[in-house]
Symmetry: C2
Protein backbone atom coordinates (compact mmCIF):
# COMPACT_ATOMS: atom_id res chain seq x y z
CA UNK A 1 0.00 0.00 0.00
CA UNK A 2 1.16 3.52 -0.87
CA UNK A 3 2.02 5.80 2.05
CA UNK A 4 0.03 8.57 0.43
CA UNK A 5 -3.35 9.53 1.80
CA UNK A 6 -6.46 10.89 0.13
CA UNK A 7 -8.99 12.59 2.38
CA UNK A 8 -12.26 13.61 0.76
CA UNK A 9 -13.66 16.48 2.75
CA UNK A 10 -17.09 18.10 2.89
CA UNK A 11 -16.86 21.82 3.70
CA UNK A 12 -20.51 22.31 4.64
CA UNK A 13 -22.65 25.12 3.24
CA UNK A 14 -19.85 27.66 2.82
CA UNK A 15 -19.48 29.60 6.07
CA UNK A 16 -16.55 28.58 8.25
CA UNK A 17 -18.78 28.36 11.33
CA UNK A 18 -20.47 25.28 9.88
CA UNK A 19 -17.28 23.56 8.72
CA UNK A 20 -16.23 20.77 11.08
CA UNK A 21 -12.91 20.94 12.97
CA UNK A 22 -12.02 17.54 11.44
CA UNK A 23 -12.39 18.99 7.94
CA UNK A 24 -10.38 22.09 8.86
CA UNK A 25 -7.57 20.01 10.36
CA UNK A 26 -7.32 17.73 7.32
CA UNK A 27 -7.05 20.74 5.00
CA UNK A 28 -4.47 22.52 7.17
CA UNK A 29 -2.28 19.39 7.33
CA UNK A 30 -2.46 18.52 3.62
CA UNK A 31 0.43 18.78 1.15
CA UNK A 32 -1.97 19.09 -1.77
CA UNK A 33 -5.48 20.58 -1.79
CA UNK A 34 -7.65 20.03 -4.87
CA UNK A 35 -11.13 21.33 -5.56
CA UNK A 36 -13.45 23.38 -7.72
CA UNK A 37 -12.18 26.93 -7.37
CA UNK A 38 -15.05 28.34 -5.30
CA UNK A 39 -14.69 25.43 -2.84
CA UNK A 40 -10.97 26.15 -2.54
CA UNK A 41 -11.88 29.80 -1.86
CA UNK A 42 -14.18 28.61 0.95
CA UNK A 43 -11.18 27.16 2.81
CA UNK A 44 -8.64 29.86 1.90
CA UNK A 45 -8.23 30.70 5.60
CA UNK A 46 -6.61 27.28 6.13
CA UNK A 47 -4.15 27.30 3.21
CA UNK A 48 -0.46 28.14 3.44
CA UNK A 49 2.49 28.72 1.12
CA UNK A 50 3.86 25.21 1.78
CA UNK A 51 0.85 23.63 0.09
CA UNK A 52 0.13 22.85 -3.54
CA UNK A 53 -3.35 24.17 -4.29
CA UNK A 54 -5.10 23.02 -7.45
CA UNK A 55 -8.23 24.91 -8.52
CA UNK A 56 -10.28 22.89 -10.97
CA UNK A 57 -13.14 23.81 -13.26
CA UNK A 58 -16.69 22.76 -12.38
CA UNK A 59 -17.15 20.36 -15.28
CA UNK A 60 -13.98 18.35 -14.74
CA UNK A 61 -15.08 16.23 -11.78
CA UNK A 62 -13.73 12.88 -12.99
CA UNK A 63 -10.37 14.44 -13.94
CA UNK A 64 -10.24 16.17 -10.54
CA UNK A 65 -10.78 12.85 -8.77
CA UNK A 66 -8.08 11.20 -10.88
CA UNK A 67 -5.64 14.03 -10.23
CA UNK A 68 -6.25 13.71 -6.49
CA UNK A 69 -5.75 9.93 -6.56
CA UNK A 70 -2.55 10.28 -8.60
CA UNK A 71 -1.13 12.85 -6.18
CA UNK A 72 -1.92 10.52 -3.27
CA UNK A 73 -0.22 7.61 -5.08
CA UNK A 74 2.88 9.83 -5.29
CA UNK A 75 2.91 9.65 -1.46
CA UNK A 76 1.47 13.07 -0.78
CA UNK A 77 -1.17 13.87 1.81
CA UNK A 78 -3.97 15.00 -0.48
CA UNK A 79 -7.30 16.60 0.38
CA UNK A 80 -10.08 16.73 -2.19
CA UNK A 81 -12.67 19.31 -1.14
CA UNK A 82 -16.41 19.34 -1.92
CA UNK A 83 -19.07 21.73 -0.70
CA UNK A 84 -21.71 20.34 1.63
CA UNK A 85 -21.08 16.65 2.29
CA UNK A 86 -18.60 15.04 -0.12
CA UNK A 87 -20.63 11.83 0.11
CA UNK A 88 -23.91 13.36 -1.12
CA UNK A 89 -23.81 14.12 -4.87
CA UNK A 90 -20.16 15.01 -4.18
CA UNK A 91 -16.62 13.89 -4.99
CA UNK A 92 -16.30 10.92 -2.59
CA UNK A 93 -17.85 8.31 -4.85
CA UNK A 94 -15.74 9.43 -7.85
CA UNK A 95 -12.56 9.17 -5.75
CA UNK A 96 -13.52 5.72 -4.45
CA UNK A 97 -14.28 4.53 -7.98
CA UNK A 98 -10.79 5.58 -9.10
CA UNK A 99 -9.02 4.14 -6.04
CA UNK A 100 -10.73 0.76 -6.18
CA UNK A 101 -9.71 0.38 -9.85
CA UNK A 102 -6.05 0.38 -8.75
CA UNK A 103 -4.06 -2.75 -7.82
CA UNK A 104 -4.41 -3.14 -4.07
CA UNK A 105 -0.71 -2.59 -3.25
CA UNK A 106 -0.64 0.79 -5.01
CA UNK A 107 -3.77 2.27 -3.41
CA UNK A 108 -3.45 5.33 -1.20
CA UNK A 109 -5.24 5.28 2.12
CA UNK A 110 -8.62 6.92 1.76
CA UNK A 111 -10.77 8.69 4.32
CA UNK A 112 -14.09 10.47 3.84
CA UNK A 113 -15.00 13.28 6.26
CA UNK A 114 -18.68 14.23 6.34
CA UNK A 115 -20.04 17.78 6.18
CA UNK A 116 -23.35 19.59 6.55
CA UNK A 117 -25.09 18.73 3.29
CA UNK A 118 -27.08 21.43 1.48
CA UNK A 119 -30.46 19.85 2.29
CA UNK A 120 -29.80 19.99 6.02
CA UNK A 121 -28.35 23.51 5.93
CA UNK A 122 -31.45 24.67 4.05
CA UNK A 123 -33.81 22.75 6.31
CA UNK A 124 -32.38 24.32 9.49
CA UNK A 125 -32.82 27.82 8.04
CA UNK A 126 -36.56 27.30 7.60
CA UNK A 127 -37.17 25.12 10.68
CA UNK A 128 -37.36 21.34 10.49
CA UNK A 129 -39.17 20.20 7.33
CA UNK A 130 -36.96 17.08 7.12
CA UNK A 131 -37.64 16.07 10.73
CA UNK A 132 -39.44 12.88 9.74
CA UNK A 133 -38.78 10.49 6.82
CA UNK A 134 -37.35 12.23 3.77
CA UNK A 135 -35.64 11.65 0.45
CA UNK A 136 -33.09 13.57 -1.57
CA UNK A 137 -33.35 13.45 -5.36
CA UNK A 138 -31.32 15.17 -8.05
CA UNK A 139 -33.22 16.69 -10.97
CA UNK A 140 -30.13 16.74 -13.17
CA UNK A 141 -30.66 14.62 -16.27
CA UNK A 142 -27.06 15.05 -17.36
CA UNK A 143 -26.01 11.84 -15.57
CA UNK A 144 -29.48 10.25 -15.25
CA UNK A 145 -32.31 9.62 -17.72
CA UNK A 146 -35.35 11.81 -17.07
CA UNK A 147 -37.80 8.88 -17.10
CA UNK A 148 -35.87 7.37 -14.18
CA UNK A 149 -35.94 10.68 -12.26
CA UNK A 150 -39.69 10.94 -12.83
CA UNK A 151 -40.20 7.35 -11.68
CA UNK A 152 -38.36 8.17 -8.44
CA UNK A 153 -40.38 11.35 -7.91
CA UNK A 154 -43.60 9.34 -8.19
CA UNK A 155 -42.43 6.71 -5.72
CA UNK A 156 -41.31 9.33 -3.19
CA UNK A 157 -44.67 11.09 -3.58
CA UNK A 158 -46.52 7.80 -3.00
CA UNK A 159 -44.39 7.18 0.10
CA UNK A 160 -45.36 10.66 1.38
CA UNK A 161 -41.74 11.54 2.19
CA UNK A 162 -40.58 15.12 2.57
CA UNK A 163 -38.24 15.88 -0.29
CA UNK A 164 -35.04 17.80 -0.92
CA UNK A 165 -34.31 18.46 -4.60
CA UNK A 166 -30.66 18.98 -5.57
CA UNK A 167 -29.62 20.52 -8.91
CA UNK A 168 -33.19 21.68 -9.49
CA UNK A 169 -32.64 24.07 -12.39
CA UNK A 170 -29.89 25.66 -14.48
CA UNK A 171 -29.59 27.82 -17.59
CA UNK A 172 -29.62 24.72 -19.80
CA UNK A 173 -32.05 22.63 -17.69
CA UNK A 174 -35.02 24.96 -17.47
CA UNK A 175 -38.09 22.65 -17.69
CA UNK A 176 -37.28 19.84 -15.24
CA UNK A 177 -38.45 21.59 -12.06
CA UNK A 178 -41.79 22.59 -13.62
CA UNK A 179 -42.30 19.01 -14.76
CA UNK A 180 -41.34 17.71 -11.29
CA UNK A 181 -43.97 20.02 -9.81
CA UNK A 182 -46.62 18.63 -12.20
CA UNK A 183 -45.73 15.09 -11.15
CA UNK A 184 -45.83 15.91 -7.43
CA UNK A 185 -49.18 17.72 -7.81
CA UNK A 186 -50.71 14.44 -9.00
CA UNK A 187 -50.16 13.15 -5.44
CA UNK A 188 -49.90 16.17 -3.13
CA UNK A 189 -52.20 19.12 -2.47
CA UNK A 190 -51.59 22.47 -4.16
CA UNK A 191 -50.88 24.10 -0.78
CA UNK A 192 -48.06 21.69 0.16
CA UNK A 193 -45.37 23.87 1.78
CA UNK A 194 -42.24 24.52 -0.30
CA UNK A 195 -39.03 26.36 0.61
CA UNK A 196 -36.56 27.67 -1.96
CA UNK A 197 -33.22 28.21 -0.23
CA UNK A 198 -30.47 29.73 -2.37
CA UNK A 199 -26.84 30.26 -1.26
CA UNK A 200 -27.58 28.95 2.23
CA UNK A 201 -25.26 30.45 4.86
CA UNK A 202 -23.52 32.66 2.28
CA UNK A 203 -23.69 36.44 1.90
CA UNK A 204 -26.31 36.24 -0.88
CA UNK A 205 -28.61 33.86 1.03
CA UNK A 206 -32.24 34.03 -0.19
CA UNK A 207 -35.17 32.16 1.31
CA UNK A 208 -38.61 31.98 -0.29
CA UNK A 209 -41.47 30.16 1.43
CA UNK A 210 -44.22 29.20 -0.98
CA UNK A 211 -46.43 26.27 -1.98
CA UNK A 212 -46.18 23.60 -4.63
CA UNK A 213 -48.73 25.36 -6.87
CA UNK A 214 -47.41 28.91 -6.30
CA UNK A 215 -43.69 28.14 -6.62
CA UNK A 216 -42.00 30.53 -9.05
CA UNK A 217 -39.43 28.30 -10.76
CA UNK A 218 -37.56 31.31 -12.12
CA UNK A 219 -36.33 32.04 -8.58
CA UNK A 220 -34.47 28.71 -8.61
CA UNK A 221 -30.96 28.12 -9.91
CA UNK A 222 -28.10 25.64 -9.41
CA UNK A 223 -27.35 27.09 -5.97
CA UNK A 224 -30.92 26.51 -4.75
CA UNK A 225 -32.20 23.59 -2.70
CA UNK A 226 -35.94 23.03 -3.13
CA UNK A 227 -37.59 21.53 -0.04
CA UNK A 228 -41.07 20.05 -0.52
CA UNK A 229 -43.15 19.08 2.50
CA UNK A 230 -44.91 15.78 3.09
CA UNK A 231 -48.67 15.67 3.73
CA UNK A 232 -48.02 16.40 7.43
CA UNK A 233 -45.56 19.30 7.05
CA UNK A 234 -46.87 22.45 8.74
CA UNK A 235 -46.17 26.06 7.86
CA UNK A 236 -46.56 28.55 10.71
CA UNK A 237 -45.29 32.04 9.91
CA UNK A 238 -41.64 31.82 8.94
CA UNK A 239 -41.33 28.17 10.03
CA UNK A 240 -41.83 24.84 8.30
CA UNK A 241 -41.76 21.67 10.35
CA UNK A 242 -42.80 18.06 9.94
CA UNK A 243 -44.15 16.31 13.04
CA UNK A 244 -42.47 13.08 14.04
CA UNK A 245 -45.64 11.05 13.90
CA UNK A 246 -47.64 10.04 10.84
CA UNK A 247 -50.74 8.86 12.65
CA UNK A 248 -52.06 6.41 15.17
CA UNK A 249 -49.23 4.13 16.28
CA UNK A 250 -49.34 0.94 18.28
Amino acid sequence: MSRGTLTVVGLGPGNTSQRTPAAAQAIAEADVVIGYSSYVDACADLLGAHQTVIRARMTEEAERAEQAVNAAMAEHRVVLVSSGDAGVYGMATLALQKVTELPEDTRPQVKVLPGITAALAASALVGAPLAHDFATLTLSDILNPWHEIERRLRAVAVADLALALYNPRSATRDWQLSRAREVLLEYRPADTPVALVTDAERPDQRIVLTTLSDMDVTLVDMRTIVLVGSSTTVRSGQWLFTPRTTGQAR
Copy 2:
Protein backbone atom coordinates in the same frame (compact mmCIF):
# COMPACT_ATOMS: atom_id res chain seq x y z
CA MET B 1 -41.76 39.30 21.13
CA SER B 2 -39.80 37.94 24.10
CA ARG B 3 -36.11 38.84 24.27
CA GLY B 4 -35.28 35.25 25.10
CA THR B 5 -33.74 33.00 22.48
CA LEU B 6 -34.03 29.30 21.85
CA THR B 7 -31.32 27.72 19.74
CA VAL B 8 -31.82 24.08 18.80
CA VAL B 9 -28.39 22.61 18.18
CA GLY B 10 -27.23 19.40 16.49
CA LEU B 11 -24.01 18.10 18.04
CA GLY B 12 -23.10 15.70 15.24
CA PRO B 13 -22.12 12.07 15.84
CA GLY B 14 -20.50 12.59 19.23
CA ASN B 15 -16.84 13.46 18.73
CA THR B 16 -15.98 17.13 19.15
CA SER B 17 -14.04 17.15 15.85
CA GLN B 18 -17.32 16.78 13.95
CA ARG B 19 -19.27 19.35 15.96
CA THR B 20 -19.59 22.65 14.09
CA PRO B 21 -18.06 25.87 15.48
CA ALA B 22 -21.53 27.47 15.26
CA ALA B 23 -22.94 24.77 17.55
CA ALA B 24 -20.04 25.11 19.97
CA GLN B 25 -20.40 28.89 20.14
CA ALA B 26 -24.14 28.73 20.79
CA ILE B 27 -23.60 26.28 23.67
CA ALA B 28 -20.75 28.29 25.20
CA GLU B 29 -22.81 31.50 25.12
CA ALA B 30 -26.03 30.01 26.53
CA ASP B 31 -27.48 30.76 29.97
CA VAL B 32 -29.38 27.46 29.97
CA VAL B 33 -28.41 24.19 28.27
CA ILE B 34 -31.02 21.42 28.10
CA GLY B 35 -30.65 17.94 26.68
CA TYR B 36 -30.77 14.20 27.18
CA SER B 37 -27.94 13.50 29.60
CA SER B 38 -25.59 11.74 27.18
CA TYR B 39 -25.93 14.66 24.74
CA VAL B 40 -25.10 17.10 27.54
CA ASP B 41 -22.04 14.95 28.30
CA ALA B 42 -21.00 15.26 24.65
CA CYS B 43 -20.66 19.03 25.06
CA ALA B 44 -19.28 19.06 28.62
CA ASP B 45 -16.08 20.73 27.36
CA LEU B 46 -18.13 23.86 26.57
CA LEU B 47 -20.08 24.19 29.81
CA GLY B 48 -19.22 26.52 32.68
CA ALA B 49 -20.34 27.22 36.23
CA HIS B 50 -22.36 30.29 35.12
CA GLN B 51 -24.75 28.10 33.16
CA THR B 52 -27.86 26.22 34.19
CA VAL B 53 -27.53 22.69 32.81
CA ILE B 54 -30.61 20.48 32.68
CA ARG B 55 -30.10 16.79 31.99
CA ALA B 56 -33.31 15.14 30.87
CA ARG B 57 -34.34 11.53 30.51
CA MET B 58 -34.56 9.94 27.06
CA THR B 59 -38.30 9.42 27.08
CA GLU B 60 -39.28 12.95 28.04
CA GLU B 61 -38.77 14.65 24.70
CA ALA B 62 -41.97 16.71 24.65
CA GLU B 63 -41.42 17.87 28.26
CA ARG B 64 -37.81 18.76 27.41
CA ALA B 65 -38.96 20.88 24.47
CA GLU B 66 -41.54 22.61 26.66
CA GLN B 67 -39.00 23.26 29.41
CA ALA B 68 -36.64 24.81 26.85
CA VAL B 69 -39.37 27.02 25.39
CA ASN B 70 -40.45 28.14 28.88
CA ALA B 71 -36.89 29.06 29.83
CA ALA B 72 -36.53 31.08 26.63
CA MET B 73 -39.85 32.86 27.34
CA ALA B 74 -38.31 33.88 30.68
CA GLU B 75 -35.77 35.83 28.61
CA HIS B 76 -32.88 33.44 28.92
CA ARG B 77 -30.58 32.39 26.11
CA VAL B 78 -31.45 28.72 25.91
CA VAL B 79 -29.80 25.95 23.93
CA LEU B 80 -31.59 22.64 23.39
CA VAL B 81 -29.06 20.00 22.29
CA SER B 82 -29.69 16.94 20.09
CA SER B 83 -27.20 14.42 18.76
CA GLY B 84 -26.64 14.37 15.01
CA ASP B 85 -28.81 16.99 13.32
CA ALA B 86 -31.57 18.39 15.54
CA GLY B 87 -33.76 18.67 12.43
CA VAL B 88 -33.61 14.95 11.54
CA TYR B 89 -35.70 12.83 13.95
CA GLY B 90 -34.48 15.34 16.57
CA MET B 91 -35.74 18.03 18.92
CA ALA B 92 -36.17 20.92 16.44
CA THR B 93 -39.66 20.01 15.28
CA LEU B 94 -40.89 19.51 18.87
CA ALA B 95 -39.54 22.92 19.85
CA LEU B 96 -41.13 24.61 16.83
CA GLN B 97 -44.48 22.95 17.58
CA LYS B 98 -44.39 24.38 21.11
CA VAL B 99 -43.24 27.85 20.03
CA THR B 100 -45.80 28.25 17.26
CA GLU B 101 -48.60 27.38 19.71
CA LEU B 102 -47.74 30.55 21.68
CA PRO B 103 -49.28 33.99 21.07
CA GLU B 104 -46.93 35.76 18.65
CA ASP B 105 -45.87 38.53 21.06
CA THR B 106 -44.68 36.04 23.67
CA ARG B 107 -42.60 33.83 21.39
CA PRO B 108 -38.87 33.60 21.94
CA GLN B 109 -36.62 33.96 18.93
CA VAL B 110 -35.79 30.53 17.56
CA LYS B 111 -32.80 29.35 15.58
CA VAL B 112 -31.95 25.84 14.37
CA LEU B 113 -28.27 24.96 13.84
CA PRO B 114 -27.64 21.90 11.69
CA GLY B 115 -25.25 19.07 12.54
CA ILE B 116 -23.79 15.96 10.92
CA THR B 117 -26.73 13.56 11.02
CA ALA B 118 -26.12 9.90 11.88
CA ALA B 119 -26.78 8.67 8.33
CA LEU B 120 -24.06 10.89 6.89
CA ALA B 121 -21.56 10.11 9.66
CA ALA B 122 -22.13 6.39 9.05
CA SER B 123 -21.99 6.77 5.29
CA ALA B 124 -18.61 8.55 5.37
CA LEU B 125 -17.13 5.77 7.53
CA VAL B 126 -17.91 3.14 4.88
CA GLY B 127 -17.33 5.30 1.78
CA ALA B 128 -20.18 6.96 -0.08
CA PRO B 129 -23.25 4.70 -0.24
CA LEU B 130 -25.58 7.75 -0.09
CA ALA B 131 -23.80 9.53 -2.97
CA HIS B 132 -26.83 9.35 -5.23
CA ASP B 133 -30.55 9.60 -4.41
CA PHE B 134 -31.39 8.27 -0.96
CA ALA B 135 -34.09 8.18 1.70
CA THR B 136 -34.05 8.06 5.47
CA LEU B 137 -36.78 6.09 7.23
CA THR B 138 -37.37 5.37 10.89
CA LEU B 139 -38.38 1.83 11.84
CA SER B 140 -39.79 2.95 15.18
CA ASP B 141 -43.48 2.12 15.41
CA ILE B 142 -43.84 3.96 18.70
CA LEU B 143 -44.87 7.19 16.93
CA ASN B 144 -45.88 5.67 13.58
CA PRO B 145 -48.12 2.75 12.60
CA TRP B 146 -46.18 -0.21 11.19
CA HIS B 147 -48.37 -0.52 8.07
CA GLU B 148 -47.35 3.05 7.15
CA ILE B 149 -43.65 2.27 7.70
CA GLU B 150 -43.97 -0.82 5.52
CA ARG B 151 -45.74 1.19 2.80
CA ARG B 152 -42.86 3.67 2.79
CA LEU B 153 -40.26 0.89 2.64
CA ARG B 154 -41.99 -0.55 -0.44
CA ALA B 155 -42.10 2.81 -2.20
CA VAL B 156 -38.43 3.52 -1.47
CA ALA B 157 -37.54 0.04 -2.75
CA VAL B 158 -39.55 0.65 -5.94
CA ALA B 159 -37.77 4.00 -6.39
CA ASP B 160 -34.41 2.18 -6.06
CA LEU B 161 -33.12 4.71 -3.55
CA ALA B 162 -30.26 3.93 -1.18
CA LEU B 163 -31.66 3.84 2.32
CA ALA B 164 -30.62 4.86 5.83
CA LEU B 165 -32.70 3.25 8.59
CA TYR B 166 -32.91 5.15 11.89
CA ASN B 167 -34.09 3.48 15.14
CA PRO B 168 -33.77 0.06 13.50
CA ARG B 169 -34.06 -2.16 16.58
CA SER B 170 -34.31 -2.00 20.37
CA ALA B 171 -34.92 -4.38 23.26
CA THR B 172 -38.68 -3.91 22.89
CA ARG B 173 -38.77 -3.58 19.08
CA ASP B 174 -37.05 -6.77 18.01
CA TRP B 175 -38.94 -7.93 14.88
CA GLN B 176 -39.21 -4.73 12.79
CA LEU B 177 -35.77 -4.91 11.13
CA SER B 178 -36.25 -8.55 10.12
CA ARG B 179 -39.62 -7.68 8.62
CA ALA B 180 -38.10 -4.65 6.84
CA ARG B 181 -35.49 -6.97 5.34
CA GLU B 182 -38.21 -9.34 4.07
CA VAL B 183 -39.99 -6.41 2.42
CA LEU B 184 -36.82 -5.07 0.80
CA LEU B 185 -35.87 -8.56 -0.48
CA GLU B 186 -39.09 -8.59 -2.51
CA TYR B 187 -37.52 -5.81 -4.60
CA ARG B 188 -33.75 -6.01 -4.20
CA PRO B 189 -31.24 -8.82 -4.72
CA ALA B 190 -30.00 -10.89 -1.77
CA ASP B 191 -26.45 -9.57 -2.27
CA THR B 192 -27.46 -5.88 -1.95
CA PRO B 193 -24.68 -4.27 0.14
CA VAL B 194 -25.58 -3.37 3.72
CA ALA B 195 -23.54 -1.56 6.39
CA LEU B 196 -24.33 -1.69 10.10
CA VAL B 197 -22.64 1.27 11.79
CA THR B 198 -22.97 1.44 15.58
CA ASP B 199 -21.72 4.29 17.77
CA ALA B 200 -20.23 6.13 14.79
CA GLU B 201 -17.25 8.32 15.76
CA ARG B 202 -17.42 7.20 19.39
CA PRO B 203 -14.98 4.99 21.32
CA ASP B 204 -17.13 1.87 20.85
CA GLN B 205 -17.59 2.35 17.09
CA ARG B 206 -18.41 -0.93 15.27
CA ILE B 207 -18.79 -1.36 11.51
CA VAL B 208 -20.12 -4.52 9.88
CA LEU B 209 -20.33 -4.80 6.10
CA THR B 210 -22.75 -7.46 4.98
CA THR B 211 -25.60 -8.06 2.53
CA LEU B 212 -29.35 -7.83 2.80
CA SER B 213 -29.75 -11.62 3.06
CA ASP B 214 -26.77 -12.19 5.40
CA MET B 215 -27.45 -9.27 7.79
CA ASP B 216 -27.38 -10.46 11.42
CA VAL B 217 -30.09 -8.35 13.02
CA THR B 218 -28.84 -9.19 16.52
CA LEU B 219 -25.80 -6.95 15.85
CA VAL B 220 -28.17 -3.96 15.56
CA ASP B 221 -29.40 -1.76 18.39
CA MET B 222 -30.74 1.75 18.94
CA ARG B 223 -27.27 3.24 18.36
CA THR B 224 -26.94 1.57 14.95
CA ILE B 225 -27.64 3.11 11.56
CA VAL B 226 -28.45 0.52 8.89
CA LEU B 227 -27.41 1.59 5.39
CA VAL B 228 -28.90 -0.40 2.49
CA GLY B 229 -27.55 0.07 -1.02
CA SER B 230 -29.55 0.77 -4.16
CA SER B 231 -29.27 -1.56 -7.18
CA THR B 232 -26.16 0.34 -8.31
CA THR B 233 -24.27 0.45 -4.98
CA VAL B 234 -20.87 -1.25 -5.26
CA ARG B 235 -18.86 -2.98 -2.56
CA SER B 236 -15.12 -3.12 -3.13
CA GLY B 237 -13.14 -4.36 -0.13
CA GLN B 238 -13.88 -2.10 2.83
CA TRP B 239 -15.73 0.48 0.70
CA LEU B 240 -19.33 0.95 -0.34
CA PHE B 241 -20.17 3.58 -2.92
CA THR B 242 -23.07 4.45 -5.18
CA PRO B 243 -22.19 5.87 -8.60
CA ARG B 244 -23.74 9.20 -9.52
CA THR B 245 -25.39 7.86 -12.66
CA THR B 246 -28.30 5.45 -12.91
CA GLY B 247 -27.96 4.69 -16.61
CA GLN B 248 -27.98 6.21 -20.07
CA ALA B 249 -28.75 9.93 -19.75
CA ARG B 250 -29.66 12.41 -22.45
